[in-house]
Symmetry: C2
Subunit: 126 residues, 2 copies
């Protein structure tokens, strides 16, 4: 059934599951990296994205961008010229998510050494 769009979803199991699903889709490795690149430049072309996200394949980049477009995170602009020219830019929604992810990047930069130390200790322990 449909629920009215209330802001107080506190501990509703249904909403909680929807939020979990959304987190699961948005907290994808490639999505995060693409958001990070798009957040630092207003508009980025497909090739530039492929270059800026090291290790991503064309298929995954395409799929990730389509998914983000469908979720309203990015706006895809096609310029009908030859050769083709396609720009990707974050929407307001996407910028909000990028801002929400900012502390995660800060955490990763700050605690990278600790994580590597923990890994070394764990590997030595076994």
């Amino acid at each position: 059934m449909e629920k009215p769009p209330t802001t107080a979803y506190a501990d509703n199991p249904d909403v909680d599951r929807l939020v979990s699903d959304l987190i699961g889709r948005v907290a994808d490795k490639w999505t995060l990296l693409v958001i990070e690149v798009l957040e630092q430049a207003a508009q980025v072309r497909f090739g530039a994205l492929a270059r800026a996200v090291p290790g991503i394949s064309q298929k995954m980049l395409t799929r990730t961008l389509r998914q983000m477009e469908r979720d309203g995170l990015v706006r895809r602009t096609v310029h009908p010229v030859i050769p083709p020219h396609v720009d990707y830019a974050l929407t307001a929604l996407g910028h909000g998510l990028a801002a929400a992810f900012c502390p995660v990047w800060t955490w990763a930069e700050t605690h990278l050494a600790e994580v590597e130390a923990a890994r070394a200790a764990f590997d030595a322990h076994t």
Copy 2:
């Protein structure tokens, strides 16, 4: 827009790639959901985790917890009793990561309706 906030070593390509790798490992779907559950209760047993993270398989839960333990995010405590009793708890590092992910959860709760509307609009256009 403005110049993005950078740390002292954010412009180092090597560190940038290490941070990307760390993000890629930590921004896993199951890792995030497990962190969320562990952040709300001090100690959680394996079975309780499997129940609290809907849709996860036992194998993925085991693998996710091992990886998080190796990265120093969780501490695994085995009580040698019968039946077995294994508690998982976030370390200080894990709590920091949970706190960093907090805005992402807030964003997901706040903008869930917008994402669903964007999906409906995208699906209608195609």
